[in-house]
């Protein structure tokens, strides 16, 4: 027999300010199965929790209803309370009389009271039918896959590896480093990006716990939390890295020049190349698309000159399989293609209108100009440089609705760099707002202003070429006047977007993307590094635009979550997953294709009915490690054989009866 206790929470004035909680408790006491019903100012507080524990003991309760907030907020809290009281934690049912009632019906307290009581009646009806549940245990492969070798992936990999777990780090480019490796200096300290990034690249490559794959991509991921299997495609490098010493003769002598991706088109590389001198691994790959040998069958210069015979045109791509227990997505960002959208800035036809990332390569000592600011068209040192912020950001008409968050700061940095490197230079920054939330950020921006950057509040409406100069037309909305600047170089702060190919990784991992294509975190505030797919975590700009300090912090957070997961030899899964009544299952398997998590598959049982001989029969089996308890199979099952534990047909029908009849 159920002996149910109802606990009505005031939630301060959130509930108590709208409905009469003691009155509700008194009415709830009359519901079937309820033996005690009380109210409390804050049920989630220590006194509230103790009240439940004492009532369980005093009244020998075996079911509990908490009428308070959303189960998303406190169901876990009250499950723990039940465990402390010596009950199975799944014998609690919540009635959400805050979000679903008093918050939305504040102006109508009487109707709110009636609704609150209905919700409690529903919860009590279900509580009376709750069954004790317990999760199953699954083993954990104590290794982690990190996808992306930029600063986010490097940090996550190093932290997990330092915690004593093996890490498989996969980077699709020929080198580690990501976007951060392309930067010159970093705000607000102006320390050199390479000085703080390349040591991490080297550490990752030499860490005994890290297995590194560069020029490789994750092809598929199967399995579930604690037990994933990743297929990793190692693209053909056409250079045997076992033999190669990285001496550099091949790329010195290669006759083919190609615009360098790493230099964002500001400089060239060869067809056999390392992206930049500090690349890790410091050994080349051949770009098959541009290589003269692959295009014409002639050349072979690199092969002839290689002192160790490492060049191998016959090399083929390979696929490796790695078993891991957790995955960190750290796929980073790319920049909005402004040239396709902003005709008023010339659609990319003016060589001296460049992006912030291109500017980074121009001021980088290891870049194509050796760190001298020279404009692309004629190599002249620009005397007037105009920066345009929010190109594609905060622009729903042509770009993205969101703020890209890093541009205000890096533009201030660029402005300072121009003023420092080009004596007498004039710098104008067109902005909508200056957003400098971060430690030392506002001070940094003020420094740029103090040193001479002219900030003009307004949008740029047009950039056009007039002879050898660029004319930037815009508005100064503080003066209320149109302005025109003759510029030698224009730098656009283009929006941050999810990296090219991010959508494919989203599909591969079975996680969600938000409306802008960024990876969706499980909760925007409380679970920022987790996803809704167990065992898959997020680090860095793949989740939202963010700067280096925040990326490193988030990567460390993801690593801590991974280390926590991998610290246990086995996991207890949620018991609220599908279960099959094999006696009812007809083996039609209609439920298999509807499962979004691939958690169902056909199985065979042997059964003996009465005195007939034993026979084999097909039924569906649930993989409780994969099942997320969504209930799609439950709805699809014609014979009612599949049910979600904690949401059985009987329980749900009892709720409906209590609510509607």
């Amino acid at each position: 027999m159920p002996r149910t206790g109802v606990f009505v929470c005031w939630c301060g004035s959130n509930i108590g300010g709208v409905v009469d909680c003691p009155g509700l408790a008194a009415e709830a006491a009359r519901l079937p199965g309820v033996v005690i019903s009380v109210d409390e100012k804050y049920m989630c507080s220590a006194p509230g929790q103790n009240k439940i524990i004492e009532a369980v003991r005093e009244h020998r309760l075996n079911r509990v209803v908490v009428a308070s907030c959303s189960p998303r907020l406190h169901e876990e809290t009250f499950r723990k309370v039940l465990a402390r009281a010596g009950l199975n934690p799944y014998l609690v049912e919540m009635a959400n009389i805050r979000e679903h009632c008093t918050w939305v019906h504040g102006p109508e307290p009487e109707r709110a009271r009636v609704k609150a009581l209905s919700l409690i009646r529903r919860a009590a009806a279900k509580a009376n039918r709750l069954q004790p549940l317990s999760g199953s245990r699954i083993p954990v492969t104590r290794r982690c896959l990190v996808i992306g070798g930029g600063i986010a992936g490097l940090q996550a990999a190093l932290d997990v590896a330092d915690a004593g777990h093996e890490v498989v780090l996969v980077e699709r480019e020929p080198t580690l480093g990501g976007n951060m490796a392309k930067l010159d200096k970093t705000f607000p300290t102006l320390d050199c990006s390479a000085c703080i990034n390349t040591p991490k690249m080297v550490s990752a490559a030499s860490h005994p716990n890290i297995r590194l794959y560069t020029w490789a991509e994750v092809e598929s991921l199967t399995g579930y939390i604690g037990n994933f299997e990743a297929a990793i495609r190692q693209k053909a490098r056409y250079v045997d890295h076992e033999k190669c010493t990285g001496c550099g003769i091949c790329w010195e002598k290669c006759p083919t020049r190609v615009p360098s991706e790493f230099d964002a088109g500001m400089g060239d590389r060869k067809a056999i190349y390392i992206p930049f001198p500090q690349a890790v691994p410091n050994k080349p790959v051949i770009d098959r698309e541009h290589c003269r040998y692959f295009k014409t069958g002639k050349c072979r210069i690199c092969q002839k000159l290689c002192p160790t015979g490492a060049v191998d045109y016959e090399q083929e791509e390979e696929t490796a399989v790695e078993k891991v227990g957790a995955v960190v997505a750290a796929t980073g960002f790319s920049l909005f293609d402004w040239a396709g959208a902003y005709g008023e800035y010339g659609y990319g036809k003016y060589p001296d209108v460049i992006t912030g990332l291109q500017f980074e390569r121009l001021v980088n000592a290891a870049g194509p100009t050796g760190g001298k600011v020279r404009r692309p068209s004629d190599g002249a040192v620009p005397q007037t440089v105009v920066f345009v912020k929010c190109v594609g950001s905060r622009d729903e008409a042509k770009g993205r609705a969101y703020c890209s968050r890093i541009c205000c700061m890096y533009t201030a940095k660029h402005a300072l760099q121009v003023l420092e490197k080009v004596p007498g230079a004039r710098v104008f920054v067109f902005y909508m707002d200056v957003r400098t939330a971060g430690k030392g950020y506002e001070e940094f921006y003020q420094r740029a202003v103090r040193e001479g950057a002219v900030y003009v509040r307004g949008r740029v409406s047009k950039i056009y070429r007039d002879g050898g100069r660029l004319v930037v037309k815009g508005a100064d909305t503080l003066l209320g006047r149109p302005v025109e600047v003759d510029a030698d170089l224009v730098v656009l702060a283009t929006a941050v977007e999810p990296a090219a190919g991010a959508a494919a990784v989203v599909r591969l991992l079975g996680v969600n993307a938000d409306q802008d294509g960024f990876f969706q975190e499980a909760h925007p505030k409380l679970r920022p590094v987790e996803t809704h797919t167990g065992g898959v975590f997020l680090a860095g700009a793949c989740q939202a635009p963010r700067d280096i300090p925040d990326t490193v912090a988030q990567a460390g957070g993801a690593a801590a979550k991974v280390a926590g997961l991998l610290s246990r030899p086995e996991l207890v899964t949620s018991p609220m997953v599908s279960s099959v009544n094999e006696a009812l299952c007809s083996g039609c398997l209609l439920c298999v294709p509807v499962c979004p998590y691939r958690a169902l598959e056909a199985g065979v049982i042997t059964e003996r009915i009465n005195h007939h001989p034993a026979r084999e029969r097909v039924v569906v089996k649930v993989n409780t490690g994969l099942c997320q308890g969504c209930g799609a199979c439950n709805a699809a099952c014609r014979s009612g054989a599949v049910e979600v534990r904690g949401f059985t047909n009987e329980q749900i029908l009892a709720e409906l009866e209590a609510l509607c009849l």
């Binding site: 902003y342 008023e344 659609y347 047009k462 056009y464 070429r465 007039d466 004319v471």
Partner: protein
């Protein structure tokens, strides 16, 4: 190819040469133009800045008349008229309530069958061989700055032809006529015609800027597709010169006049005699 023709008020007055040259060029190209009988004002600037409903209703009446005439899509030379008619067409198509209300006001319903196209779009869409075949007096590399103005290709959701930031259809036509379109940055800048009476100094500055940028780009003439722009840029040059101490003498002609000249049509047929700054290619 036949079209319903909406000339609008400017083409009967200050922009008469646009009407003349449009008809002459279309005639040469085998395009039939059937003028809408009893057409009325399109509702440009005065109406739509005071009453949205009045502006839509004025254009809607023209659209309904044209549709009833059944002579095909409406072709409009004037950029302002074109924009008003196109906006009205879009709004009536998207809002059945408005369509009903406007039909009660005008006494005529417009079902949206007759489309609205600018003359530039129509001529720009013709087969280039057909156009080239008419050119008997190529312009010998005359440098022309094609000036589209603010209304013709904007907003793109209404106009739906050419690029709103870097339009090229007029440049292509001018090139077919043997002239050389110059790249310049002021193709779609505002000429200030709307402020010519209320705030003349603003207008004079905008006109000066356009002439200045065109001249620096090496243009021998400006080519445009709007009677307000043409009148503003042409008739005010002397005033601009007086105020700013400049010496502009850039002919500003309609693209139809330039095409017609290349087709060998007479100055008189094209209304070239009506320009303030005379157009004398090769002189």
């Amino acid at each position: 190819m036949n079209y319903t023709y909406y000339a609008g008020c400017s083409l009967h007055a200050t922009g008469r040469e646009f009407d003349l040259s449009a008809r002459a060029v279309c005639g040469r190209l085998g395009i039939g133009l059937a003028e809408i009988p009893d057409w009325n004002c399109c509702g440009a600037s005065p109406a739509h800045s005071t009453s949205h409903l009045l502006a839509v209703a004025l254009s809607a009446r023209n659209l309904a008349l044209a549709e009833a005439q059944g002579a095909g899509d409406i072709v409009v030379p004037c950029a302002a008229c074109y924009q008003r008619l196109a906006v009205a067409r879009k709004e009536l198509g998207e809002d059945p309530g408005l369509r009903e209300q406007v039909a009660r006001i005008t006494g005529r319903d417009y079902a949206g069958r007759a489309g609205v196209r600018s003359l530039l779009e129509v001529l720009g869409g013709l087969d280039t061989e057909h156009l080239k075949a008419q050119v008997t007096r190529p312009l010998g590399g005359l440098k022309a700055a094609c000036y589209y103005g603010c209304l013709l290709v904007r907003p793109p959701a209404v106009t739906g032809f050419d690029d709103p930031e870097d339009p090229r259809s007029m440049d292509d036509l001018v090139r077919l006529a043997g002239a050389e379109p110059v790249p310049w940055g002021y193709k779609t800048e505002c000429c200030g015609a709307a402020h010519g009476v209320a705030n003349e100094p603003v207008t004079l500055k905008l006109v000066r800027d356009i002439l200045e940028v065109a001249r620096r780009a090496g243009a021998d003439c400006l080519v445009c597709a709007c009677p307000l722009c043409q009148n503003n840029l042409d008739a005010r040059q002397e005033h601009v010169n007086r105020v700013f101490g400049t010496d502009f003498g850039l002919p500003v002609l309609y693209f139809t006049q330039l095409l017609g000249w290349a087709f060998g049509l007479s100055d008189r047929d094209l209304g070239l005699d009506k320009l303030f700054v005379k157009f004398r290619p090769g002189v």
